[in-house]
């Protein structure tokens, strides 16, 4: 029974794939591939060494853009969250920049950085910066006053206060924010690669369509993007499960 429950999602996917394949079989000559065609596309990419190359290229950009954004936005957000006056000064600016889609920055990214990795990294940075800044600010606001008071009571120095109270108290919320933002980064990289670079999974999709309507490769690219997104999410979730990070769920 338990085993069945575990395999239910797999079963569902298998059924959907079967329906897809059947539907394609009824429309011979369709430009859209079936699952078997897509699997062939993935194999094709593997054989040409393109799959690994493009995945690495995309992950490279995501890693840099995301890490840089986290490196700048989280300390800044924590500081702004702590010093309310700073926050009041920054808040309108943040709220104006935040709703601008990272994709709207593509022309400026190309203008500043040309076509290449830097432009893509910049776009991911912009896409991650504001969500992470707000996450960090809110995380500080949500620290229960009792932890702050207890910390003050034990006579901690400012640096000890940051490392022993502030940091552990915001970690659970930061991890959730980081996980969601990593998802955003993964969305942005594909879009950025469609326009501003000549490699990566986003480029693969556009290139496969332009260079002869290879829709098997287009869908193969999509499937790979989905799988890697899933793996990134699972990886972040497993970090959240570390016992000393997980307290927010258990301490209502």
């Amino acid at each position: 029974m338990k085993l069945f429950e575990r395999f239910r999602p797999v079963l569902l996917i298998a059924v959907l794939l079967a329906i897809w394949e059947t539907a394609i079989a009824f429309h011979p000559g369709s430009i859209l591939p079936g699952p078997i065609g897509v699997a062939g596309g993935i194999l094709d990419l593997l054989q040409h060494g393109l799959l690994l190359k493009y995945v690495v290229a995309s992950l490279f950009r995501v890693t840099w853009g995301f890490a840089l954004a986290a490196f700048v936005a989280i300390p800044l957000g924590l500081a702004l969250g702590w010093y309310r006056r700073g926050e009041m000064a920054f808040y309108p600016l943040v709220q104006i920049f935040r709703p601008i889609s990272p994709l709207a920055w593509i022309p400026i990214a190309i203008l500043w950085f040309g076509v290449g990795d830097l432009a893509a990294i910049f776009l991911i940075f912009v896409g991650c910066f504001f969500p992470l800044l707000l996450t960090a600010m809110n995380a500080v606001h949500n620290i229960p006053a009792v932890y702050i008071n207890a910390g003050r009571n034990f006579g901690l120095s400012p640096s000890a206060f940051v490392s022993r109270i502030l940091y552990p108290a915001v970690i659970p919320q930061l991890l959730v924010g980081l996980r969601i933002t990593l998802g955003v980064a993964w969305l942005v990289v594909v879009a950025a690669e469609m326009i501003s670079v000549n490699s990566g999974l986003g480029f693969l999709i556009v290139d496969a369509r332009n260079a002869g309507n290879r829709y098997d490769l287009v869908v193969a690219g999509m499937v790979i993007i989905g799988f890697i997104g899933l793996l990134l999410d699972l990886g972040m979730r497993s970090i959240e499960q570390v016992k000393s990070f997980r307290w927010i769920n258990s301490e209502g």
Partner: protein, 262 residues
């Protein structure tokens, strides 16, 4: 059982804790709200004082001012003759709820204020207080795996570990069920009798006050003043159905303005 001279503090010595003409006024959007008015109180070294009063009267405000978390609008609080300017590890406040750090284990919590000690001293001190609050076997547990009563014991242990002069407790058992609460009172008394700290204990529970305190300070409704100070002249362990106990309890109920009958 303790001798009478152990529980009755020596009133001739200088007080451990003194509040002089203490007043606190809150500023609520420009509206001035006086909370405490002219509080004068001496607490002796090693004394167990309970603070009771109608809910919302400013008990916690007084506690926070005494512990240094709130600066008074007028008057002062001094400990050993020294004016209280802010929180200090020599006096630890125990909170009603969520006071322990959920990201640290039991050992980590107890050792929180001990980073200046050597490793060996710290280990030894932690082991001592794990035993004092009877959390043996839970050293590596996180607070999420402890019951409410255990978490409060852990908080008391973390407070005691830094060797404070005064423990301030803000309704520490208020969030516990009634059975656990009674057990916790016994535990706190046992710890107080072995450790001999000055304890200033806020509660809204009249029985709790009569069972624990050497003296009970009764606050009036807001703006709060000291209405009365009742000396509980009962030796420990206290018989809670003795006539003297009931007399003191009734007196307190009357002071707070509660009827004996429902």
């Amino acid at each position: 059982m303790l001798q009478a001279e152990d529980t009755v503090p020596d009133t001739r010595s200088a007080p451990k804790l003194r509040a002089e003409h203490l007043g606190v006024v809150y500023d609520r959007d420009g509206q001035l709200l006086p909370v405490l008015e002219d509080i004068n109180l001496d607490v002796q070294n090693g004394e167990f004082v309970c603070l009771v009063g109608p809910s919302g009267c400013g008990k916690s405000t007084l506690l926070n001012a005494m512990a240094g978390f709130l600066s008074p609008t007028s008057g002062s609080v001094s400990i050993d003759g020294e004016i209280v300017m802010g929180p200090d590890p020599r006096r630890i406040l125990v909170f009603q709820e969520r006071g322990v750090f959920p990201w640290l284990t039991v050992e980590g919590n107890i050792g929180f204020g001990l980073s200046k000690l050597s490793r060996a001293e710290r280990t030894q001190r932690i082991a001592h207080y794990v035993k004092t609050v009877r959390l043996e076997g839970f050293e590596n547990s996180y607070p999420s795996d402890l019951s409410g009563g255990m978490k409060q014991r852990l908080q008391v242990a973390r407070a005691l570990a830094v060797n404070p002069d005064i423990l301030f407790l803000d309704e520490p058992f208020g969030a516990l069920d009634s059975i656990t609460r009674v057990i916790m009172r016994g535990e706190l008394l046992r710890i107080w009798q072995t450790e001999r700290r000055t304890i200033f204990f806020v509660t809204h529970d009249i029985d709790e006050a009569v069972q624990l305190a050497d003296r009970v300070v009764v606050l009036s409704s807001r703006p709060a003043q000291i209405k009365d100070i009742l000396t509980i002249d009962l030796p420990h362990p206290r018989n809670i159905s003795s006539s003297r106990y009931l007399e003191l309890r009734d007196e307190l109920l009357k002071q707070i303005g509660l009827a004996y009958e429902i």
